[in-house]
């Protein structure tokens, strides 16, 4: 079974772009817009192209469209300052949307795409509200309460991974997805490339970075191999379990 909405793209957004509601709101709606546009274009033009051409065209179109739209909306319309790593994450979002268009459900049901996409968007917003409120005591930048139990830990990707995993598991339950096919590596790898859990001072920074990335990927891979033999409920199997385990790996490696 395959997801009818761009699950991996929403998962990456839940990990990275849910630190505050401001980013989550824009990221969620743009993922939904780009995915719908991509599916419509692929349905009317893409299917007439040879397979090799369709794949490359979809990837180039989705990546360029995602990057451009995010730049236009965030930078030009809303006047936000976007750093390089955020822009790179936008490119990865484009790749994940292209992956959904090319390898998602062949029988496209736009009603369910909108319904389930809206569910994923709502989950993204809920996660962002939790993270922003617990870290800053604010929602959408507006101070709601002066809380004493605020924690910067909620801004860390550890919280992103764990909440994203739980959120997707709830969505799977609601949408009655069982053993849905998804690739956790597509979500975890971009995060590992751009947000390392630790730095090594005593060696060259690029070498330290490679070691940190390899450590994350090795540990996540090992856990996932172990999870294959675990008796998990079908809702939490695959992507949700992989995200939660990636969160645990980040939590452990952050201690160093």
């Amino acid at each position: 079974m395959k997801a009818r909405y761009p699950m991996e793209a929403f998962a990456l957004a839940m990990v990275i772009f849910s630190q505050n509601m401001r980013d989550a709101l824009i990221t969620g709606i743009l993922i939904l817009l780009i995915a719908t546009l991509g599916l419509v274009l692929d349905g009317s033009v893409g299917i007439r192209l040879p397979k090799w051409s369709r794949i490359s065209c979809s990837i180039i179109l989705m990546v360029s469209l995602t990057y451009s739209l995010f730049q236009i909306v965030l930078r030009a319309i809303l006047g936000y300052n976007i750093d390089t790593s955020t822009s790179i994450f936008h490119i990865f979002l484009g790749l994940l949307i292209a992956n959904h268009i090319l390898y998602g459900e062949e029988d496209r049901n736009y009603n369910l795409l909108l319904l389930e996409g809206a569910g994923a968007f709502a989950t993204l917003l809920i996660i962002s509200i939790i993270r922003e409120f617990m870290a800053e005591g604010t929602v959408y930048g507006f101070k709601l309460a002066e809380i004493n139990f605020r924690s910067n830990g909620f801004t860390h990707v550890v919280a992103g991974f764990i909440l994203a995993g739980l959120g997707l598991a709830v969505l799977n339950k609601i949408f009655k997805y069982k053993d849905v096919k998804s690739e956790g590596i597509y979500v975890i790898l971009p995060v590992a490339l751009l947000v390392q859990p630790f730095t090594i001072d005593s060696i060259e920074s690029s070498v330290g970075m490679v070691i940190a990335i390899l450590a994350v990927m090795f540990m996540v891979y090992s856990i996932n191999k172990h999870l294959v033999f675990s008796k998990l409920s079908k809702e939490i199997k695959n992507l949700p379990a992989e995200l939660v385990s990636a969160g645990m790996v980040y939590m452990i490696l952050s201690m160093f």
Partner: protein, 330 residues
């Protein structure tokens, strides 16, 4: 097939309309959140108020007006000034006493700085430090040498070092950080040393390590504690002699210090050489003194981890001071 394509187009139209709604709504919310009611309106309102001063041509000045009492005497000046922050302009209202120099109070009009970092400018404790200080303002320890002192800012003493504040920075980035060291000499003796590093985002290593974002070992001293221990060594020994290092730049001379201290040694030696001659000394005003000894300028704290915001605040307050000083002719 055709039916599905039509459904797709309808779905796309629906999502497009919702997207525009969300983006437009977001823009309104951001504007409300960051401006507390539009800067342009604020400017307009300020210009409508009695005592409004013409600010056309004044860079960074949004509006200004004279504050008067019931009998029309000028009791102070209000200047709304802005400067580029980390994301968008930071706008403050600075109220000066009628000497056009002493700051009565400051108010944050608008900003879009990062919560937890630049947004800390809104904290009352931060804003209160501006009350009663004289413009122009500088960061503590970075004020220029006073004309009343010696030409270099250093004052002669009977002992080895010349009084003043000596600040040195590394020229190149090392492992993603620029390093800086500030050394303070009072009565010929080193009384304070601060060693820190800053990354490309303007985040200080001391801050990152103290909030757990830069962790080296779980059970040892944090980077900040190790930097403080090295600084304490220099204060106690009044030199860096005895800080022998191995091939990895590590030392056994200071208990608990496991970081490579090559950057520290290089900067400390440079600062000590400067302190010996008085070259490059800045005025040593005293950490707790909000105003310089001769009362010519004020000193403020930086916002931790928010270099862009701190620079914006310095710029907008000093711009406001220059503007109102010229207007008042003082």
């Amino acid at each position: 097939m055709k039916d599905n394509r039509l459904k797709g187009i309808i779905a796309l139209a629906v999502v497009t309309v919702i997207s525009f709604g969300v983006i437009y709504g977001s823009k309104i919310l951001v504007k409300d959140n960051t401006t507390n009611g539009n800067t342009t309106d604020n400017n307009q309102n300020q210009q409508d108020l009695p005592g409004a001063i013409d600010v056309s041509g004044a860079e960074g000045i949004v509006s200004a007006r004279e504050l008067t009492d019931d009998s029309g005497n000028v009791t102070g000046y209000s200047v709304v000034s802005e400067a580029k922050g980390f994301a968008k302009p930071v706008t403050w209202e600075i109220i000066f006493e009628n000497d056009a120099k002493t700051i009565r109070e400051v108010k944050v009009v608008s900003h879009a700085e990062t919560p937890g970092y630049g947004a800390n400018m809104e904290e009352e404790s931060y804003l209160n430090q501006f009350k009663g200080i004289k413009a122009p303002i500088y960061l503590k320890g970075q004020a220029p040498a006073s004309d009343a002192g010696s030409e270099s800012g250093a004052s002669d003493t009977t002992e080895g070092f010349k009084d003043g504040i000596y600040r040195v920075e590394s020229e190149e980035m090392d492992n993603g950080y620029y390093y800086m060291l500030t050394l303070k000499v009072e009565n010929g003796a080193i009384t304070n040393v601060v060693f820190d590093g800053m990354n490309e985002l303007g985040e200080y290593k001391s801050y990152l390590s103290s909030v757990g974002k830069y962790v080296m070992t779980e059970d040892g001293l944090t980077w900040k504690e190790q930097a403080d221990a090295l600084a304490q060594y220099v204060i106690e020994h009044q030199s860096v002699e005895g800080l022998a290092v191995d091939e990895n730049g590590k030392t056994d001379a200071v208990a608990g210090v496991s970081i490579s201290i090559n950057n520290f040694l290089e900067l400390a030696e440079k600062a000590l050489e400067m302190a010996a001659t008085g070259e490059g000394a800045q005025n040593a005003g005293g950490d707790n003194a909000p105003v310089s000894a001769d009362g010519e300028f004020g000193e403020i704290d930086a916002i931790s981890g928010a270099t862009f915001t701190t620079n914006a605040i310095l710029e907008l307050v000093n711009n406001a001071y220059e503007f109102i000083k010229n207007y008042a002719g003082k």
